[in-house]
């Protein structure tokens, strides 16, 4: 008896989304097979890797990260340097300074910073919110205005604030948005339905299905992404078909494993390597579950995950 393979292809596929300015845009999504199942059918577009920077600059206490950004002092220089990281497909800006629980920088100022970054970047840009629905509702429309013509993705349109963000970003300024829900297939679907009801067409939004680091309830995230993909493909559920972007960096670098000092935990070794491996493990697991793009902070993590993707696609 010989082995009879049973390829699992689907009639439906994940929607394609392109972002970035003309001539420098990237496209992702579009696949009609489970993640990396290239043996079932060719994969339309490889998953993307984003490199994350913050308006507060890199953590220069980490030696390799400090060396990578050495000499890059202004936000523009940092953005330009990040774009040189091998394997990076897009740049992700976190406007940390605008967080009302932190420095609470005015939205106009933060939007101006986003413009600076976009002008300095040769890669497509994604902007992450500050994780505060009121501030994001004010900030993201201003960012959308400042980034006219950049065709950027603005993350963190949530159920509480998606209307204003969607209208300003997509309808008025031609940007893309990320629909963010809290690790639940039904919430994700509901938000996508609401966004579609506003007349926002497929191809103009991506999903942010939540985040978590390896070891920290990651099974919820893995199963949610997996279930979303299976429903999108096998049930042709177009409310679950936008590509999924998972910002891994924030969680991966804020768990104990990546935070405690080597002085406190000598056997654990240098903090930087712990953070890198946490980013890599979490990102690889997200991609295996079905994320179409991941966002990482350390250039070493970006390089390794880009290599993993290249090997598999």
């Amino acid at each position: 008896m010989t082995f009879k393979p049973d390829p699992q292809t689907f009639a439906s596929s994940i929607k394609e989304v392109s972002f970035g300015p003309e001539g420098a845009a990237v496209t992702f999504g579009g696949s009609n097979v489970l993640p990396f199942y290239a043996f079932d059918a060719p994969i339309a577009h490889k998953p993307l890797v984003g490199i994350e920077i913050s308006d507060k600059g890199p953590d220069r206490e980490l030696p390799a990260l400090a060396a990578f950004y050495d000499g890059a002092n202004t936000l523009s220089e940092i953005a330009a340097r990040a774009c040189t990281a091998p394997g990076a497909d897009f740049l992700s800006l976190k406007l940390e300074g605008a967080d009302p629980n932190g420095d609470n920088m005015p939205s106009d100022e933060a939007a101006a910073l986003a413009k600076e970054v976009a002008d300095a970047s040769v890669l497509p840009l994604l902007v992450q919110g500050v994780d505060n629905v009121d501030k994001d509702a004010e900030l993201l429309p201003k960012v959308a205005e400042a980034l006219q013509g950049k065709n950027a993705i603005l993350m963190s349109a949530k159920e509480e604030n998606y209307k204003g963000i969607a209208v300003a970003a997509v309808t008025a300024y031609g940007q893309k948005i990320g629909a963010e829900s809290a690790v639940d297939i039904n919430l994700a679907k509901q938000l996508n339905v609401l966004i579609a009801q506003m007349g926002i067409q497929q191809g103009n939004y991506v999903m942010h299905l939540g985040n978590s680091a390896a070891g920290y309830g990651f099974e919820y995230l893995a199963s949610t992404i997996e279930r979303v993909k299976i429903a999108a493909l096998s049930q042709n559920d177009d409310a679950l078909q936008p590509p999924a972007v998972t910002p891994v960096a924030g969680d991966a670098w804020s768990v104990k494993e990546s935070l405690v000092s080597e002085a406190d935990f000598p056997e654990w070794g240098p903090r930087e390597q712990r953070g890198i491996e946490m980013e890599i493990s979490t990102a690889a697991a997200c991609l295996a579950s079905g994320s179409d793009a991941v966002i990482l902070r350390h250039p070493s993590s970006v390089e390794t995950i880009a290599k993993l993707i290249a090997e598999l696609v």
Partner: protein
């Protein structure tokens, strides 16, 4: 394929003798189909019927154990492809690879990363020994590896060397990983002679399929399929297609656990090995062989494995008690939250990030999140106060300020009544606001 009750009924004697404990043969057939009765409970089944049923009711993936009697490891037995359908039962096992000369160093390195996380011991389970051409040295290395108490994989396709090593350590139930299409008969004989599990590989998935069937014909049951190291792409394709054939298509010849040799897929690149190990934890690696396992790799990988191989029905919990964070002393402020592991990790992580010394008190809350535990009556003013009294916290900590989760602010009044002398402080509703809140509280 699963049989329906009516199919099983057709194989019974149809005499309604009731000796099986069921009123009729039909009822018995239904019970067997549901899995609530065993076919053996009918004393009158013919041999032929039993064989037919055995074939049809066999689980899609074999399960068996490897390793020394006091530290046996389980492999296989999966019934689903996705963990949201049902729990994955046999967690991915980690092996560290060494040749004969590197055995001592590998054993030492494995021992140096060994810790506990949420009630589970985190340590590499297996030593993989690669044969490099010196049979005597290989047997000595096998003895050392077996003496370490870890399970041993003998990765050797030389028959004589395999036999020597097996003779030396057969009692510790190693895996003989070296069968391939050119040595099937000889290696099948070795596995039978020494009673060990056999690992088999081949250049492509079709030859691999034939090789597994050849081992089955020799009567071997404990088979492990090495997905090969030609490329990352082919190893992943094989791992997925083999498991999918077993579970989805019911192809028993691929219903065996897998070995993925990541050490060979990404030699010298530890970070790439972390990435690959994570991939194969999610997608069907039963044993993952790595070049090494540093703390930096172990912390995410063991955590990821613990997450993926959890029973969705049983929440992960942390031990109840008092956890002094950031060097908290008896004069530091107290905080209370539930014993659900995820909540504990998020809350303790934020407290650690704030740098403020806090005595974090964890009572038994049934392993639920804050609101769920509260609505189930497992995280109430009464239960918190009782825990503080029973575990004698009042004599261990002098500070009388107690932070409670913002989501159960309603407990404040009742807690103040139940805990005279304590000041109850309501924290923010979300853990992400804790850092700012604690810093301001301390100021």
């Amino acid at each position: 394929m699963a049989l329906k009750g009516i199919d099983i009924f057709k194989l019974t004697p149809k005499t309604n003798c009731k000796e099986c404990g069921q009123p009729t043969c039909m009822a018995f057939g239904m019970k067997v189909a549901q899995g609530t009765a065993q076919i053996e409970q009918c004393p009158h089944m013919s041999e032929e019927a039993l064989a037919k049923l055995g074939e049809a009711t066999a689980p899609p993936m074999k399960s068996f154990k490897i390793g020394p009697a006091d530290a046996e490891l389980s492999l296989g037995g999966e019934t689903v492809l996705f963990r949201h359908d049902k729990t994955f039962v046999s967690k991915t096992l980690f092996a560290v690879s060494a040749d004969a000369a590197g055995t001592d160093a590998a054993i030492e390195a494995i021992k140096s990363v060994d810790y506990e996380r949420i009630g589970e011991r985190m340590s590499v389970e297996i030593v993989n020994l690669e044969y490099t051409g010196d049979s005597a040295a290989y047997t000595e290395a096998a003895k050392k590896a077996a003496a370490s108490g870890k399970t041993v994989i003998l990765s050797v396709s030389d028959e004589a060397a395999a036999k020597d090593a097996l003779s030396a350590i057969k009692d510790s139930k190693p895996v003989l990983n070296g069968a391939n299409p050119s040595n099937i008969a000889a290696f099948a004989a070795l596995a039978k002679e020494f009673g060990v599990a056999i690992g088999v590989t081949a250049d492509d998935i079709d030859t691999l399929y034939d090789a597994v069937q050849a081992l089955e014909k020799e009567g071997l049951k404990d088979i492990i399929i090495d997905v090969g190291a030609a490329s990352v792409k082919s190893a992943f394709a094989n791992a997925v297609q083999i498991r999918r054939a077993a579970i989805k298509s019911g192809d028993h010849s691929f219903g065996y656990p897998s070995i993925v040799n990541i050490a060979k897929l990404a030699p010298g690149d530890a970070s790439m090995q972390t990435a690959l190990a994570s991939l194969f934890i999610l997608k069907y690696g039963s044993i993952v062989i790595m070049e090494g396992m540093s703390y930096a790799q172990a912390l995410p990988l063991f955590g990821l494995r613990q997450n993926i191989f959890t029973d969705p029905q049983k929440p992960m919990t942390v031990e109840t008690g008092i956890y002094p964070l950031n060097g908290a002393t008896e004069d530091s402020i107290c905080a209370v939250t539930v014993d659900f592991a995820l909540t504990y990790f998020i809350v303790s992580g934020e407290i650690e990030r704030s740098g403020v010394p806090v005595n974090l008190i964890i009572p038994d809350a049934g392993g639920y999140s804050v609101l769920t535990a509260w609505s189930a009556g497992k995280f109430s003013a009464g239960s918190i106060a009782a825990f503080i009294k029973e575990s004698d916290i009042e004599s261990k900590v002098k500070n009388r300020n107690l932070l409670i989760p913002g989501k159960v602010a309603v407990l404040k009044g009742e807690l103040e009544e139940n805990l005279p002398g304590w000041k109850i402080i309501v924290s923010p509703g979300e853990a992400t606001s804790l850092v700012k809140f604690l810093k301001e509280l301390q100021a």
